[in-house]
């Protein structure tokens, strides 16, 4: 029971990353009708906002320590970040909190990147077939990846969570299980809570603001909203920027979980598309629901007992195929997806 509960929590945690990325994808598809294969690259760019912010904070003054030598036998060059030299312990604390603080940089940067991407490239493909959109956005993703690789290299760059969030929380004890049976890392719990907050924020923005109401109206009937004299294109461009920011924030907060590298966006992209299809193309609640659902299923499928059981019935590596298996079943039984509108992908 404790093992199952632990995997369930883990599934929610994994699913929160899928849900965040799928939410952004769905926002873009629902508003602009564009299948954006560069969305994973936006997630990766967000992660590298955190890396860049940390590097800026770490710009260091170099002093020579004559008592020590480097690998060539020369006196050792010691780097001390200027921020520590200038601000002492406060500077050290800023460095420690660089990942959460980088959100402040990531939001404007990602919105700007999103708007530039939409105005500079993607708007020229609105009236082209989905295949063209996929090709151009996939190409764009590769270009972004290579630029990041050229600047930061191919190796992952570790980013630590603030020290206050090192270690794990004993959730089991809180709900009556024995000590140390259900523990979960603090930062992953924070990531989960952060994802839920962002998802709730996006829904509230669309539901309770005038801007959101217009966007929803535009998603339902773009032409009529346009005839009312509302510049819906501009609002949709802003929504592209918002979707880019959501993906970017998901990337920023993910950096302490797995050290970022230039390929991390591609790792999530395919899974997120499956999430969108399972949830229902264009359905925001569907994307969120499917994200969490598939995360939980993937987590359960990784348990040795489940893997062994499926291997015994001729389905080895169930953990690798479970998400795609579910997608196939959903597409066969309910082509519109779990919460998709009737008619979408059904004709």
């Amino acid at each position: 029971m404790d093992a199952l509960l632990l995997q369930f929590i883990n599934g929610l945690d994994k699913g929160s990353a899928y849900a965040l990325i799928a939410l952004g994808l769905t926002l873009i598809f629902g508003t602009l009708g564009v299948v954006n294969f560069a969305h994973g690259a936006l997630f990766m760019l967000g992660a590298f906002c955190a890396v860049t912010f940390s590097k800026i904070l770490s710009i260091a003054q170099i002093t020579i320590d004559p008592t020590k030598t480097d690998f060539l036998g020369n006196p050792l060059k010691v780097k001390t970040p200027y921020i520590e030299v200038w601000f002492g312990d406060f500077g050290t604390a800023l460095l420690d909190w660089s990942v959460p603080l980088s959100i402040a940089m990531a939001i404007p940067v990602m919105i700007l990147i999103g708007i530039t991407m939409e105005r500079g490239l993607i708007k020229h493909f609105y009236n082209r077939p989905h295949a063209d959109q996929i090709l151009v956005t996939f190409g764009l993703a590769i270009v972004i990846q290579e630029i990041i690789k050229a600047f930061f290299g191919a190796n992952p760059i570790p980013q630590a969570a603030p020290q206050a969030f090192f270690g794990s929380m004993d959730i089991g004890v809180m709900i009556g299980f024995a000590q140390d049976t259900i523990i979960y890392p603090y930062w992953r719990l924070i990531y989960f809570a952060f994802s839920v907050s962002i998802i709730a924020g996006v829904f509230a923005f669309l539901r309770f603001t005038t801007f959101g109401m217009v966007v929803r109206a535009g998603m339902a009937d773009r032409e009529t909203v346009g005839l009312l004299g509302i510049n819906i294109d501009r609002r949709f461009t802003i929504m592209f920027g918002v979707a880019a920011a959501v993906a970017g924030l998901a990337g920023v907060m993910y950096t302490p979980i797995n050290p970022p590298n230039y390929q991390m966006g591609m790792d999530f992209l395919v899974l997120s598309f499956v999430v969108v299809v399972v949830g229902g193309m264009g359905s925001l609640p569907g994307a969120v629901l499917a994200g969490f659902l598939l995360g939980v299923l993937e987590s359960f499928a990784s348990m040795p007992e489940i893997k062994n059981f499926f291997a015994g019935v001729g389905l080895p590596a169930i953990d690798q195929i479970i998400i795609y298996l579910v997608a196939v079943i959903v597409l066969l039984v309910r082509p519109r997806g779990l919460l998709g509108k009737a008619g979408i992908m059904e004709d």
Partner: protein, 448 residues
């Protein structure tokens, strides 16, 4: 009905033809510079460097490429000579290989077998490479080695650690300087026993491909021989990035050791997850929970950051070694590029030196002559102490380093500390060892 008739002149002619035919292999192995693939004809000899220039191991490939260029420089008589000055063989003159200047072509393996084979094929067929070297993955090494065998060129493997490269997939044209999974297990087990005791329960997470399987098999066998038991071995997809769902079940498995048979990005992510889950802070079976990473590299350690501290693993070479060869190489590489070389850089540098030296000693670039010169070759001065290139499987035997993540690094390169230099005798095994069974070396193929 025809009648077979043989006169004296016919008999002499036939005898001459058959005799020449019989003598052909001897002539080839004796070192003529013709009758083999891409025999160099001008004043240069072309080598093919097939490394990952894109994909997950691109940084490792870049370091290999740096070492290749340095080696070419040294062999062509430029620079400070590096390990040419400490190499026990005196055949290298600093005038290229057999008086021909070394030129090179490069290919991108992308860490994919099919892409690696395609680039190797292009270098052999279009660029006239007489030798192919490189790789940062066992899957790639095995695939390219088989291609080189078919094409009739020598393959000097780069970073490949799977038993199979010189086990069931060994080839007469292929040679490996790097150590292997068996050696990692044999070197690590006694150190782990000393550090953690013999009453331990291990849980293995294993990358689901050739290298992962052989490493898991080797480490399990070696540690169980020391008294450990193995509670589970879970295969993880090579494409996995978030290992949390594989780490979580470890918590309640009864294991007190986690062995991560992962390399590269897999290792960085799985180790990060394991540390995040607080495994190293746990007390299980009244013992501190520990993590082991059988194959380490400095580049990986950098990616994993603080998480490597105190964690044991093994490595083929480390820049902090103080023998004359290592010091010369680190000096040369460091002066050129501004940072110390990785083990991948070291092994490919050695491979180029060994190839060039074998050509000089054989007096030919003919793959069969080169292979003969490498087989059973004993050498020293290349950073690993006295080393033997075994004829039976083309595997190098030398000391193996057991390392541990450093608690207080003094620089960004100072991430691992050498815990023990395991003597060669402790990691040797017979050619027909069960973990290496299933293949045959075959015979050398000189090609066209």
């Amino acid at each position: 009905m025809s009648k077979f008739q043989m006169n004296r002149r016919g008999l002499l002619k036939s005898g001459a033809v058959i005799g020449a035919g019989m003598a052909m292999p001897t002539i080839l192995t004796a070192g003529t510079d013709s009758g083999y693939t891409n025999a160099p004809t001008g004043s240069t000899v072309t080598l093919g460097f097939n490394v990952p220039q894109s994909g997950a191991y691109a940084d490792e490939g870049a370091d290999e490429l740096r070492a290749y260029l340095l080696a070419v420089d040294h062999l062509n008589g430029h620079g400070d000579g590096g390990m040419m000055n400490t190499f026990s063989s005196n055949a290298l003159q600093g005038n290229g290989i057999l008086g021909k200047e070394i030129v090179y072509v490069t290919g991108d393996t992308q860490t994919k077998s099919d892409a690696a084979r395609a680039s190797a094929q292009s270098m052999i067929q279009k660029d006239g490479a007489v030798m192919i070297t490189g790789g940062s993955s066992s899957g790639v090494a095995v695939a390219v080695q088989a291609l080189c065998q078919e094409a009739g060129v020598i393959f000097m493997a780069g970073l490949t650690h799977s038993n199979d490269t010189t086990g069931k997939d060994k080839k007469a044209n292929g040679f490996r300087h790097f150590f292997n999974s068996y050696m990692s297990g044999a070197a690590l087990a006694p150190v782990l026993e000393k550090a953690y005791g013999s009453d331990r329960v291990a849980y293995h997470l294993t990358a689901d491909y050739n290298w992962g399987w052989t490493t898991q098999e080797s480490v399990q066998a070696a540690t169980e021989a020391k008294g450990w038991s193995t509670v589970a071995n879970v295969l993880t997809p090579l494409t996995a990035t978030d290992f949390s769902s594989y780490i979580a079940p470890v918590l309640n498995s009864g294991a007190d050791i986690l062995v991560l048979n992962h390399y590269g990005g897999n290792m960085i992510n799985s180790l990060t997850s394991a540390v995040q889950f607080g495994l190293r802070d746990r007390l299980v079976n009244d013992k501190n929970f520990e993590i082991v990473v059988p194959l380490y590299s400095r580049l990986m350690a950098r990616g994993a950051g603080e998480n490597v501290k105190g964690i044991y693993g093994s490595t083929n070479w480390h820049w902090s070694l103080q023998d004359e060869g290592s010091k010369a190489f680190v000096q040369s590489f460091g002066q050129e590029y501004g940072f110390p070389p990785s083990q991948a850089a070291h092994t490919v540098y050695c491979q180029i030196m060994l190839y060039a030296d074998a050509c000089e000693r054989a007096g030919t670039h003919n793959p069969c002559g080169v292979a003969e010169a490498l087989e059973g070759f004993d050498f020293d001065g290349l950073g690993n102490g006295p080393t033997h290139y075994r004829a039976g499987d083309h595997q190098c035997f030398k000391d193996v380093l057991v390392v541990r993540g450093k608690e207080n690094p003094t620089s960004e390169f100072d991430l691992l500390e050498i815990v023990e230099v395991t003597p060669r005798a402790q990691v040797e095994y017979p050619v027909d060892h069960p973990l290496f069974a299933g293949g045959a070396l075959g015979v050398c193929n000189p090609g066209s």
